[in-house]
């Protein structure tokens, strides 16, 4: 990727996808009465939105390419920081939540690090490096956070009650 605009368009989408996914997960947890994790996801969504705003700020005077969702050039199926839906569980604990976020941030870091390594465009290289560093900070922060959370009991996902049927 060699164009700054394209790079920023991706960065914006990356954060947007991450935030939306966190919102979605927060809602899902709330519906499943897992308020503690819902709140964490909301917080994570908030951070993603802050970053989203930051990146947008970078691009404010630029005309960005209007990419369709499937035109993004990630190596992954979704934006690198979007939490994989299938890695969630209604009984998941804050511990899982933070670790999930950590994985997301690590992928984010990897994404930017890759670009900064591979790109020939100096401006993109600079920005990618900057973003990668920022993601690295997030990783460190989340790692600290994770360290303070007690691991759940091994049977954290045990639900003695049967699933509900409806319709």
């Amino acid at each position: 990727m060699s164009e700054v605009a394209a790079f920023l368009a991706h960065a914006i989408a990356l954060e947007a996808e991450a935030a939306e996914r966190y919102d979605e997960l927060a809602d899902a947890m709330a519906v499943h009465n897992n308020e503690a994790v819902a709140e964490l996801f909301r917080k994570l969504a908030h951070f993603s939105r802050l970053h989203h705003a930051e990146v947008k700020e970078h691009a404010k005077d630029m005309v960005l390419p209007q990419l369709k969702p499937w035109e993004y050039q990630w190596q992954t199926a979704e934006g690198p920081e979007a939490a994989p839906v299938e890695r969630t569980h209604y009984l998941m604990t804050p511990y899982h939540c933070i670790h999930l976020a950590l994985q997301n941030e690590k992928r984010g870091h990897q994404y930017y690090a890759d670009i900064s390594y591979k790109t020939n465009d100096p401006e993109v290289k600079r920005l990618a490096k900057e973003f990668a560093d920022e993601e690295a900070e997030h990783v460190v922060m989340l790692e600290k956070w994770a360290a303070n959370i007690k691991a759940p009991e091994p049977d954290w996902d045990m639900d003695l009650d049967p699933p509900v049927v409806s319709d």
Partner: protein
Amino acid sequence: MSGYSVSVALTGSGGAGAMTAGQILLDAASKAGFYGLMTRSMGPQIRGGEAAALLRISTKPISSLDDHYDLLVAFDWGNIARFAAELPLAANSLVLTDPEQGEVPEPIAVFGARAAELPMKSIASGIPGGRVNMVGLGAAAVLIGLPLDSILSVLTAQLGRKGEEVLAAATAALRAGAEAAAILPSVTKLGTAPKDGVVRWNISGNEAAGLGALKGGIKFVAAYPITPGTEVLEWLAPALDKTGGALVQAEDELASINMVIGGSFAGIPSATATSGPGLALMTESLGLAVASETPLVVVDVMRGGPSTGIPTKSEQSDLNIAVYGLHGDAPHLVVAPNSISDCLYATQWAVYLAEALQTPAIVLSDQAMGQARALIGKPAESPYVAKRLVAEANIENYKRYALTASGISPMAIPGTPGNNYVADGLEHNERGTPSSQASDHQSQLDKRAHKLDAFDYGDLWADIEGDAEIAVVTWGSATGPVQEALLRAKAKGINAKMISLRLILPIQPAKMAAALKGVKKVLVVEQTHSEQFHKFLRAHYDLPKDVAVISQPGPLPIRPAEIVNRLAAWK
């Protein structure tokens, strides 16, 4: 409230284990020699939704939930507003809450019951592997006076195979809850368990219906899953497999009912189970079963309607479609169990009747009976088993639809030499050849109506209790509250007779007239919005002038107090 029972609700969400705790409590009550009943109410989420286990434990067999819960143990308050209406509390009820979960929310607070706090979550977290529901369960047991031993023995039986550790954790949590309960305000306590020597069964209405079908002789089931009928099938699938029968999952209800018709035509007693939307899809082919005189049984576990409605809640509003839902003049059987144990008897009887009368029988159960579990005395054996009037081999000029005195014609089963015939849903003559002649139509219509009308259904057509100038006429799961209400009314000096119809179709005018002899006033009790049962009674029976109706749609159950009040007001 009633003096011989205690009602407990356990609520919680997201894996708190309210249902499991309720289940253990019921099992323990059984172990300790009590009777009991448990229903449930749940949110729409597949997993982790809010759930309530609603129990009543008693020293006598019981047929209904009580008007109120004596004890509500709330593990948390997630979405409580959604089913607060199903959790009525009295002033002297106790709400046990976890202080971590905050204030008692408005929809519960309005009942004005007493409240007490128990830090269930923190107690549980102090125990390795400890779970909040076990803490609450321990407290509940102590509060209602259920021996802890009985719970421990259930735990041992159920958790034993999960290993020592799990069992130890549960036991510790249970004990911790029990200890903590010592300082809590008191709650109505259970009396002494009856030492009646009666073997207790712990069974749901849906399981009972499955068992009834099996005992009646059903060997082949084809079905399509639907809430709340699925559990009938879930019980039957392995049961049939083990006992030489078979259950097949069909592509839809049109297929399942026709597979059942095929199985029965082939000589094997056959059945299916469904709920309202599925029954609606079956009516065309039920007409075929009527016209072709093919016996079969459909268990309809009713849920809230119309349309997809409220799949997880109970209502009696499929009465109309069960009775009148077939096009043309299509006489058939409708049998309605009026208790969880009667789900067994009535279904078994329905199999017998369907086979004897070569006609389809609809068993109208409902979610309230089907998905509730009861502790009952082991049901007595019933003599009703499938016995079809079959044709011997090589009958000369065999007439499948011969006009006989009883209206029942010997049915040739494939494999029987010499009697091959073609069953037909077109109007036909005695041989089965299609005919549009007025005389054939008249005589076959007469025949099909007559065989049902002329049959002797004995006393089973209705359960009649008491004798008085007031009669409460009811059916199905509304019967339980009526029975309890009449007991209470009696205690207040109000006498009333109960007539609970088991045989909805065919109608029994002579028997009803006899049952209503001397009755001046009738109270009809049912769970529909449009008074379906009342209208049905008016259509087919002569009621006294003075008729009152309690007709309320689901999902709230009919409470005995409402009936008592109505009777008292009449007095």
